[in-house]
Symmetry: C3
Subunit: 212 residues, 3 copies
């Protein structure tokens, strides 16, 4: 148990920092495409970076929030937003969608795995842990699209996104129940999710939908 | 007091199951009309089914959430979504709006009554209990419309919906204060709401609005 | 410490009442411009009036919510909505935007200052307190625009709004750390925010944005 607890206090924050900054980047790029103002850029970066984790902490009743415990993350996202605006505002090209996809797939994997693991540490049932993992990873992007006044792409674009997170989260639950090392479980689960997402994009897999 | 407590642990869950599945159906039908993908169908079904109750539990600071305590509900909504997609995806007709109205009116009544009752059990003032009842019933549908990028119909369509819930919730508060049997109170309140909703649709009652 | 505590129990509620009603007015005017029905008017008035403070209380894990403790506020917003509909529904002119700007600037200042102060009283880091102050002030209007199916103006219109709140909140944090009287701090901070907002509108200051 002490391994698990030292794990959750030392390694998870590093993972969350990486995933947080990657999501912030995808939020900044989206708000550049939508031509939001400086406040809009920071807000959408914040929503993408902290939205999912905040909802997870709220649902788990876990205080203080991870970004209150790691206030440097908030400064980092603020600085990243300001820097991006300074560097990108004069470019004439819109940031390509492809540029968003790579950090997004990595964060998807990392947030899903860490969210699922925190829910398992809180003794929640497996299915709830899986759902909380998906919520952690997907809610930020869903809020980003809502705020930008679009039907969230995660619900509409027929490309596997939440489904990859669903698969990766079940991998983590499986590894948890067979008693695997938390560190390895997290990376295997995150890689599964990110890998599935990459293959889905590459092979252009499509979700079932309604006939027209 | 033991009657109330056995009531709240045995009968309320049954009521919530019925209302939850009816709302999930209305979410699935709406997402079929919007041609969302499989993830979108499940998500909108979840939002409709669990959105209002989750917000109520969050506002009441009531953990674990009702769907964590009744994890079979989550499986049921997942299964219902998959089944509906399998059965409905080849139909050429759009699901008619009328088909949505019936489960929706029943859930409106049941969710309002159970939400109001839980708030009264938590010793909140009558008006707050009424508002929490309405939030429990209406928030899921409001999120459904937000996610589908529409002005929520509950705010705009001039047909009494939240107003029926408002009336039904006050009926429950009244019965609570005269000490009526909780079981009967719940059904009388839920029937009042659903009945008013039915009459409002039938007689085409219209809410006051702005002159153009 | 007893000064701070008596301050927070006696004066803050008065400030919140004023700010709440001013935000409710701005919500009612917006919903009139959007031609929502009676339920829509009340809901948007509620969102504007209580949305930011409720999210703040939820994030601070502060129960009961301020509007449960001050139930008369809820009645006041309900009454104000009914009264406004009765008075305004026959006017042919749309409420002018200018008419929204004045109560909005005052509430911006008051909500930011009181939200920041409550977060400081809860021993949160300065930056988190500033962000909570902004959330308290801005979230209601953001929800108003989301529900009305628009990209929130706070993110898009290039006029300083959240930035004024950011400046005013740091003034309060500064005064807090030098040990200034809470009452004066609050008013100085609120006036700074509202004043900056006024000057920004008058001088037509514009936020940095993307080149087209």
């Amino acid at each position: 148990m002490s391994t698990v607890s030292s794990w959750s206090t030392t390694v998870l924050p590093v993972v969350e920092t990486m995933a947080t900054l990657a999501f912030a980047v995808s939020g900044i790029l989206e708000s550049a495409r939508k031509r939001l103002d400086a406040v809009g850029v920071c807000t959408v970066a914040f929503l993408c970076a902290f939205g999912g984790g905040t909802l997870r902490d709220l649902l788990l009743d876990h205080r203080p929030f991870f970004w209150v415990q790691h206030i440097e993350l908030v400064w980092a996202v603020l600085g990243l937003s300001a820097l991006s605006m300074a560097l990108l505002r004069d470019t004439h090209r819109e940031p390509t969608e492809r540029f968003i996809l790579i950090p997004d797939a990595l964060s998807l994997g990392l947030f899903t795995a860490s969210g699922t693991q925190l829910a398992l540490l809180a003794h929640l049932p497996s299915l709830v842990a899986v759902l909380l993992g998906i919520v952690t990873a997907v809610f930020g992007g869903l809020m980003r699209d809502l705020v930008c006044n679009e039907i969230p792409s995660v619900l509409k674009d027929h490309r596997p996104y939440a489904v990859c997170a669903f698969a990766g989260a079940w991998v983590l639950v499986l590894l948890w129940h067979v008693g695997a090392e938390p560190w390895w479980s997290l990376w295997i689960s995150a890689s599964t999710t990110a890998g599935l997402r990459g293959v889905a994009l590459w092979k252009q897999w499509s979700l079932p939908s309604w006939r027209n």
